[in-house]
Amino acid sequence: MEFLTQTFELEELQYFFDYVNNGSVFYLIIPFFILELIRYAVLKKLNWNILGDSIANIITVVAFVMIEFTLGALLLYKLYFYVYEYISLPHLPLNIVTVTCCILLADFAYYWDHRVMHRIGIGWATHTVHHSSPHFNMSVAYRFGPLDAVFPIFFSLPIVMLGFNPWMLLFVELFVQSFQAILHTEVIGKLPRPLEYIFNTPSHHRVHHGSNEQYLDKNYAGIFIIWDRLLGTFAEEKEKVVYGITEPLNSINPIKVFFHGFTRLYRSIKSTKGFKNKVNYLIKPPGWEPEK
């Protein structure tokens, strides 16, 4: 029992998650991406499109991080700590139980944030960037849209209101993202059944990136696929996955990649008549069109 309730310092938590979140880019992601490039070369699939697409992915993450830092410095830091100080349940101590439950909650919040981004027009305008690559490798994990950092706020603030330390939540959210990153690969096939049942795996995430009819809007999970199983959005990888979006982008221009969701949304809104229809483009699922 003492093990469960033994408190530790925030710096210790930060040290651990820094090693896992930031460190993994160097000891896991980059070496794995090099392995994937070698695999492409061996399969004689390595071409300029894959390289250009990967470079575009890296450029989008730089833009994304700049937006996130600006947003964080100007607003989020104050907002999260205001909520933690004044609109929160009693603050929870930092112990192993709190961290474990925080990971579960952050992952569940990720599920809903992800599902909403897929199911409303304004969400899809930013998240479509991540799905628009016709390839599937580690670099795709870092392909972000302009507002990808905004939507999670609405889902993580309630966790702060439940008494979880905002810094711990930030570390844990980055951990969920880091776990997600390693799922973006074709190199790993299916894992043993118990793992496939509980955890999100490369196989489950390939399904999520598929534009095949039966794979659309499935497997939103971050770490635990059980959320999809419980909430009716799970699909097994059966037929070969066709990566990308139903209306392909066909570009490796990073600017076009980064903004294409919003330019498409803008065009749809501009070309439709009536205020209600324009608003509906923002809140209805992608593909929605006004009745004619």
Binding site: T5, T7, E9, L92, P93, F108, G163, L231, G232
Partner: protein, 162 residues
Amino acid sequence: MKNSTLLLRSLLIVVTIAGIPHTLALYVSSTKESDIAEPQIPEIVTDEVNEGWEPYWVGKYEVSFDGIKEKAHYEIREKSDQYKCYSILLIDANGNSFEDNAIVMEDIQITDSIAKAVYQIEYEGKKLKVDSQMKMDDEGNVTLSYNYYGYEGKENWKRLEQ
């Protein structure tokens, strides 16, 4: 799946997961309350033992503040030869206790039974850092004093466990 089912399942998941650490925190807090009701009485130390007494700072203390009914529990921890002090429990005037996890002294400089540290206190909502000095008696209890622009503060730290 119906929206109402989605909502119910989601609420159940959130309440269950968030409920676990809160329940545990309540349990730990109530355990500590019973500790307060029957504080550990320091062993009676004979003069013979006192002759070989060596100050040992690491441990938990119940802190009384001059002229204030509220109390707190502090814990001095050592890590890599660095001593830090944390506030681990706050007790209001009615005896209700609340778990805490705030650092109050970053780096305590200890010389036998005397110690010095920058003490982080809160006064009228402002966080202040004041130089403080501590003296330990041969029963392991500590008297802390500080001076903040003419205001002299004094605290008695009663050792809870050795």
